[in-house]
């Protein structure tokens, strides 16, 4: 009660000061933005992302997560340049027993509004994600969480359903991880953005001083931040939200903004690479683009009239022999995507490239003869007719070209006859899970940086693909790696899974996305946040 009163008074006071300073600021505005603070110039970042909600319980998307990364503290976080979870606002975070994950908080943690940040806030934060279970929220990531306990002000114990869950560390760094203020956020419903901003319920590296949803977010360094990321390079950062990539591109090119992050068209990136006034920076990206096979309805699938698992496998394998990933990456995506030869993108611990030697010419390229032989050996009459579906409006603007190219590559072998069709996104999802599409396109953006996020959702029973791929051995291995505490052993298991699935080809991975940021020539530090955590930490950016 007293705490909230104090918070209210503080909020009023700050609001008053803000209003005063604004009403005083009616003179001409100069280009430097008028801040004469000693720690660097104001940095402006542009993006085409969108914010769904500032409330962690109501958002499960990259745009919202980027804001949360800046303004909320995480129990576990990773330093720029790394994807390894380390204690954030915690002094320690570890399994104290197979089903208990215990976190000790640092002392004297506070929110920007002056409220104390205690274990009760932490418990509150996770409990509400689960209990609100917003349709657009990330509650699905917490399925292994049984309950949270806060025995004292600085200790939090997560009780898990399954023991030794190695992915739980990743979960704490993900969209469910932000710690929020129980005195500002509502317990049982999504808190509107304006209330969050007004209540200054921030305790991350930055707080938000000015917020116009999906147009502008103004960040100001939060002095009380005690997390892993330390003091930000720039005190003030403006984040502008663009409606289209080409406008974003022109603004970075003309120097109106300092950094452009997500998402520029491949053409634009290629064009900017020729421009001396900007730097094009690339880091690993978690995005995966792949083809899904429906094991029931694909040619020779289990529910077709000429069902034959061996022939179906030969068709899948012959397709893997025939695609030329490098050509697609270069021609369609100007190498902003790279070929991927596994189900786990390279760069993650445990990722190997089994498909490289198993298919094609053994070095990533296509091999028509190998494909021909495979089909012949299995007794498949060619050309095989393939109905491939793709979606044009969800996975970037170039899906159409990408699949036109897949089609022409497959048909060039004379082994396939491809019918290409596209359907809009919502219908697409209904159809694909109802076995309407024999072969179809999908993409994946990881929830957190861990190889498991590319395995469990895809190959465990009840996965989101719903493509009737059922390999008990793989399912067992997937489950096993999740609870293997020894890192080397776990990597080995993850490798084994990739090889096993590589033989079956439940999906055919094509490309892996790179994270691309464009920075002005006088901007430093951006590259250090382009790591496998896929988190964009604006605190690293500085301007000369």
């Amino acid at each position: 009660m007293t705490k909230s009163k104090r918070a209210l008074r503080l909020a009023l006071a700050t609001a008053g000061i803000g209003a005063l300073s604004l009403s005083a600021c009616t003179g001409p505005v100069d280009d430097s933005g008028g801040d004469s603070s000693d720690s660097g110039k104001k940095v402006t970042v542009g993006t085409t992302d969108k914010i769904v909600s500032l409330d962690p319980a109501g958002a499960y998307d990259n745009g919202s997560l980027t804001v949360m990364t800046q303004v909320y503290p995480f129990l576990l976080n990773s330093k720029p340049g790394s994807a390894d979870p380390e204690p954030g606002i915690a002094t320690s975070a570890e399994f104290t027993s197979p089903k208990e994950f215990t976190v000790k908080l640092k002392d004297g943690l506070k929110f920007a509004n002056g409220n104390d940040l205690t274990s009760s806030d932490v418990k509150f934060s996770f409990d509400r994600v689960v209990s609100i279970d917003d349709p657009q929220g990330p509650a699905a990531l917490l399925t292994n969480l049984d309950h949270v306990e806060a025995p004292d002000d600085s200790t939090v114990v997560f009780h898990l359903k399954a023991g030794n869950d190695q992915t739980f560390l990743g979960v704490l760094t993900s969209a469910t991880g932000p710690i929020v203020d129980e005195e500002v956020f509502s317990k049982d419903k999504i808190t509107p953005d304006d209330e969050i901003v007004k209540g200054k319920a921030f305790a991350g590296q930055y707080e938000i001083t000015n917020y116009t949803k999906n147009e502008l977010v103004s960040y100001q360094a939060f002095d009380g931040y005690q997390g892993l990321l330390g003091e930000p390079e720039s005190k003030t950062v403006d984040y502008k939200y663009y409606t289209s990539a080409n406008n974003l591109k022109l603004d970075i090119q003309q120097g109106n903004i300092d950094v452009a992050f997500r998402s520029l068209a491949a053409t634009d990136i290629e064009d900017l690479e020729k421009d001396d006034k900007v730097q094009v920076l690339k880091g690993p990206g978690g995005e995966l683009r792949y083809v899904v096979f429906n094991f029931n309805t694909m040619p020779f699938g289990a529910k077709t009239s000429d069902a034959d698992p061996d022939k179906a496998l030969a068709v899948r394998q012959a397709m893997a022999d025939s695609v030329n990933r490098q050509d697609i990456a270069t021609q369609v995506y100007k190498d902003t995507y790279t070929p991927v030869y596994s189900f786990v993108p390279s760069g993650l611990p445990g990722a190997i490239e089994p498909l490289k030697e198993m298919y094609g010419d053994g070095d990533g390229g296509p091999d028509v003869d190998r494909a021909k032989k495979r089909l012949k050996d299995a007794g498949v009459k060619t050309p095989v007719e393939l109905n491939i579906q793709y979606n044009a409006d969800h996975y970037g603007p170039s899906s159409g070209e990408e699949y036109a190219m897949v089609k022409s590559q497959l048909e060039k072998t004379d082994l396939f006859k491809v019918n290409l069709q596209s359907t809009e996104w919502v219908q697409y999802n209904k159809d694909r899970t109802q076995d309407v599409y024999p072969i179809y396109q999908l993409g994946w953006f990881p929830d957190y940086s861990d190889a498991d996020n590319y395995l469990t959702p895809f190959f465990a029973p009840g996965n989101f693909l719903a493509n009737h791929y059922d390999n008990k051995e793989v399912a067992k291995l997937v489950q096993k790696q999740q609870v293997t505490t020894d890192e080397d052993k776990r990597s080995e298991l993850i490798g084994e899974i990739q090889t096993e699935v590589g033989k079956d080809l439940s999906t055919l991975p094509l490309l892996q996305g790179a994270t691309v940021a464009i920075a002005g020539e006088d901007v430093d530090g951006v590259e250090s946040t382009l790591d496998a955590s896929y988190k964009f930490r604006i605190g690293v950016i500085s301007k000369k």
Binding site: A19, G33, K213, T243, V426, K430
Partner: protein
């Protein structure tokens, strides 16, 4: 309203004599009926959009269809109530509207009234600029075309008007951007201002950026806002301006053929004077009313202009919300547009009825 009155023989001052007594009563009755007609129009549009949106799928599949297993997806859809019978959802929705509750958007968690205020003012500002451009193009050139009727300037101007119509806003926008932003660098490519943080920090901002900047007395920002507005205003203004030009021309020619102008002509009044003094005013009334009817054109053009120039207004957001299957937002925006359209048409009809008693059917 347009064609029915064909039944009445042509002639202007027909409503005389016995009608004058009941005229005011008739007018009042007409206005009331005409006003009440707004309700079914709105109702039809709202219902249509409601049912169409339900056919097109739900926002949860749109947002998470590519990440969640089918059963989890179904659970969430169930929790949100989108698997209830459509009619029940429909009556819920109508009930909410009657209670003045327009809901919270699904894809970005905002009050619908909020997004209407924010993006509505953005569109309004764009439309105002575009109308100014349209008037500057349409009225004088239309008068010239009528005056020089069937001669070369007329042919040229008519061709220009048709070209304005034939060029899609986004193609005009693309060319304008290519020339004036990319090659010449005179105007910014997109957006409404570079001083968003300053503008949104003002107290009680109106959302009309130029007005806000002027109120704050900040010329730098005002100029910046205007610079951003130039290209979108021209792109949309040309489209509407072409229509205005034709309207002015057609109506002026009509008036120029009328008795009183003919009388003037026979008395030796010059053709130039006839256009600028005599025919101009009576021709203006129908022009203004028909221009009012262009609201649908203007709003439709605004969608494409906003998309081309990254102008975050109602039209642009509507396309976004449609893609996200955000029923609540789409219904809210459509309702606002329906209200605007219905009210404009009502006003146009009222003006028409005041001018010409034959209209009251």
């Amino acid at each position: 309203m347009t064609v029915e009155s064909d039944k009445v023989p042509a002639g202007f001052g027909l409503a005389k004599g016995k009608k004058s007594r009941s005229q005011s009563l008739g007018l009042a009755r007409y206005l009331v009926i005409r006003f009440l007609l707004i309700i079914p129009t709105m109702f039809i549009l709202i219902s249509m959009v409601f049912f169409l949106m339900r056919i097109t799928g739900d926002p949860i599949t749109a947002a998470l269809g590519g990440r969640l297993p089918p059963d989890q997806l179904a659970d969430r859809i169930h929790a949100a109530g989108y698997d209830r019978p459509v009619l029940i959802q429909y009556f819920d929705y109508l009930g909410d509207i009657l209670r003045g509750n327009f809901g919270t958007t699904l894809s970005d968690n905002r009050e619908v009234t909020d997004i209407l205020a924010q993006y509505g003012t953005a569109t309004l500002e764009l439309v105002i600029y575009a109308l100014i451009v349209a008037f500057i193009i349409g009225v004088p050139f239309g008068m010239i075309a009528a005056y020089k009727r069937d001669r070369l300037p007329d042919a040229f101007l008519r061709l220009f008007a048709i070209l304005c119509y034939a060029t899609p806003v986004f193609f005009a926008g693309l060319l304008l951007k290519l020339i004036f932003s990319v090659w010449l660098g005179w105007f910014p490519v997109s957006g409404r201002t570079d001083y968003l943080s300053e503008l949104s920090g003002l107290r009680n901002p109106s959302g009309l950026y130029l007005l806000d900047a002027l109120r704050a007395g900040n010329m730098t920002i005002a100029l910046d806002v205007l610079k951003h507005a130039v290209l979108p205003a021209i792109a949309l203004g040309l489209l509407i301006g072409g229509v205005f030009l034709r309207l002015v021309r057609t109506n002026l020619i009509g008036t120029l053929g009328s008795d009183f102008v003919e009388a003037g002509r026979s008395r030796g009044v010059s053709e130039y004077r006839l256009v600028t003094k005599h025919a101009y005013k009576p021709a203006l009334i129908p022009i203004v009313t028909v221009m009012g009817l262009q609201i649908a054109l203007t709003l439709g053009g605004a969608i494409l202009t906003e998309t081309t120039f990254g102008w975050k207004g109602l039209g642009f957001m509507l396309a976004e919300y449609l893609t996200a299957r955000d029923f609540v937002a789409v219904q809210g925006i459509v309702m606002l547009i329906a209200v605007i359209v219905a009210l404009t048409n009502f006003l146009v009809d009222v003006i028409a009825a005041l001018i010409d008693p034959r209209v009251r059917y």
